[in-house]
Symmetry: C2
């Protein structure tokens, strides 16, 4: 068989989840349609999908392209996970907070004992950018091996101009090396740092008037996010920061209504934010507003699991025709989980999302939550060839056999970037 | 350095969890003491531990033994997990039940739609013993790779003499090949099969008078277990079966008070069962009885997670000075999870067991739950060399970074039986 360097035909796919169909994020019953092929194939050229569908149809197209065949041995293929909400740059795990929380010590008391977000801030400020980049690089591999091909990454543990830029530079350094695609978000407004405790307005100004312009100048972020909640930033403060972001053409996200019904979702709708994240305390009125604004609700159930808190009302959001997405919220305090498959399991068992809804929420809808739905999140001709191979025969086994990693191959931009079983190097 | 074939010195251990100390299962505050060494080493000869403790002390003993050095690169070592409650021999995953349950269909209705335990029974009866053994063998590798070195395995999906023996023979076939150590349990009384629906007494007789004697004759089980609960077997029925087991010197376990407070724990105490498992509805009175009888309470939180049901009162059991153990309950209906690390995460976050209590409950106390506490479950001189290497620096990271497998090496009877990173073959 003639082989070109660039074209590849992936076969031996017991089930191919394509999510082909209508444009735009999936809502309501649309989230249940995976456009599944029982014996599938994918034809890839360079970084793009030429065709994806039934084996019979797709394999007929391959010879003309001189495609090299990769046999996946009867496994499930789905779009690479898009993890649209993470805080992956931190120096150390917060193991003491974890142990304290188990024994019943609350969030506030943990902070008073020197834990919480601000404890990560002190270590981050003392860590150099290359060190942060090296740690992030290692974590990036963990994400890739679990099937995440695109990752939103927030700053937010620096809380001064220099340290926030340092984190974003570490992210940019890792992002430039690939293969994981990284979406950068400035989260200068993650918490008010100790030194600004009694002059909050100055901190808001610092974020809006110094951090945001610097980030734009150096091209270090695509999104700005604010932790809009009780004890963090008020709706008014959040609005000031996010309006500044919008004015300089950055996109916005909001940590909304996680700890209390504090108005974050409503603000997200008013600003037409790309996503509103958490939403544990969202109301029907908020849902209607989010629907109108086209904001993607990003749910974070692994964090609820880890903290033992109330889950967001996923079923109500879906029945209100909202295009729900799911993310890990990977961070050292409230969700040290990088495996999107675990998020699927938690979403299915605890929030009663169906497997199909959860798969849609971690791929196509999640791509829209980072403004990349036109290029990522489904396996259709012309889209980027980002997909993963799971060591199961039926896609429902991914959340069913929980607590492990089923991913054995990750393909990013048409390149095999992780291949546990050496499937891509086998002679066919 | 002279190397003998048999002696090995494991070094490069950032933290060594030995659980050395008093004999017997650990109770109350005793569950918090891991006997941890910050820089540890283990000296192994053949299948036994010669010494385990601080690097300085243990490494001094090695030259005299001509021990070969294995450097674990600064990782955590703990005793191999003992998974004391599993149903690992089934033909197919129950994916349809999983999807139905998410949409709110109950246990009873699922059974009526052809799902539930009895659906596994029909497929098992049609599957040959070599096929069952092959599937179990594959699953065994999954357990080993996640750090389980000893596994209790129940029958219970045959529900006729031939099929129950077939399952136990498949278990015996796999067990004889190693390296996983398997503890066999006859669970003929897992459910009343359809054909005995209107003559339950005949089925009890079948289990007690035919299955148990056959199992003894062929040496196919060490334990007998009964699902003593509402809709399954009454206390009286369970007692008949278990007394027969005790009469022929088999040990007993009980599925107790899982679905309702139906008297299983009290029966376990009266019969001095080795373990009483589940205990979601256990009372203070039951706890006192279990304490007196020395029965190990085995909790199954991953099943509560998967089903979304009430967790057993772990904190109350521990405060009542009971030696709590934890198991996966791996099975196709109510807990498709083989990773004991995930059980640790669920126990810590949902039942508020401390990390130290959960580690004790999955190792030393779990060894007692299968009657092997004298030989397994802790790393002290003279015990079997069963231990695992986790790719973390601090043992608390094992439940903290949840939803993945941290195990990179499994050592069973002194042999390296899984070595993801090739650590044992590196030249030092």
């Amino acid at each position: 068989m003639n082989s070109s360097d660039s074209a590849k035909l992936f076969v031996g796919i017991s089930q191919l989840v394509t999510l082909a169909g209508t444009e735009g994020p999936r809502r309501g019953s649309g989230m249940s349609d995976l456009s599944l092929f029982q014996e599938g194939a994918i034809l890839v050229d360079q970084d793009r999908i030429l065709a994806a569908g039934s084996f019979r149809e797709i394999s007929a197209l391959a010879p003309a392209r001189g495609a090299r065949k990769v046999d996946l041995g009867g496994r499930v293929v789905l779009p690479g996970f898009v993890d649209s909400h993470t805080h992956p740059v931190f120096a150390l795990p917060r193991l003491r907070d974890f142990s304290l929380r188990i024994t019943g010590v609350g969030y506030k008391e943990i902070a008073e004992k020197g834990g919480g977000i601000l404890s990560t801030v002190s270590t981050i400020r003392e860590t150099s950018e290359p060190e942060l980049a090296e740690q992030f690089q290692e974590r990036m591999n963990s994400f890739l091996e679990c099937g995440t091909t695109t990752l939103e990454a927030k700053s937010g543990y620096g809380l001064d101009l220099h340290s926030e830029l340092k984190i974003l530079k570490a992210i940019a350094r890792v992002a430039s090396q690939g293969p994981l695609e990284v979406v950068s978000t400035l989260l200068g407004a993650h918490a008010v740092p100790v030194e600004y405790r009694y002059r909050r307005a100055d901190y808001i100004r610092l974020v809006a008037e110094e951090m945001i312009p610097s980030v734009v100048k150096h091209g270090l972020a695509e999104f700005v996010d604010v932790f809009c909640d009780k004890g963090y930033f008020t709706v008014l403060e959040s609005e000031k920061i996010l309006k500044k972001a919008l004015a300089v053409r950055l996109k916005v996200k909001i940590h909304a209504d996680q700890l209390s019904h504090s108005g974050g979702a409503k603000l997200a709708a008013r600003l037409k934010a790309v996503s509103a994240d958490h939403l544990d305390h969202v109301t029907s009125k908020d849902m209607a507003a989010l629907k109108k604004s086209g904001t993607i609700p990003v749910l974070i159930p692994a964090s609820n699991f880890f903290l033992g808190t109330k889950y967001a009302p996923a079923r109500r959001l879906i029945s209100q025709d909202l295009p729900v997405a799911l993310a890990t919220d990977f961070n050292p305090g409230t969700c040290p989980c990088w495996n999107m498959q675990m998020v699927l399991s938690i979403a299915c068992t605890q929030m009663k999302m169906t497997v199909e809804e959860a798969v849609t929420a971690t791929t196509l809808n999640a791509a829209y939550a980072v403004g990349r739905g036109d290029r990522l999140g489904s396996l259709v001709a012309g889209k980027q060839a980002d997909f993963v191979v799971m060591d199961v025969e039926d896609y429902r086994e991914i959340p069913y056999y929980f607590g492990v990693n089923h991913c054995v191959m990750t393909v990013k931009k048409g390149q095999v970037v992780y291949d546990k079983l050496g499937l891509a190097s086998q002679r066919s």
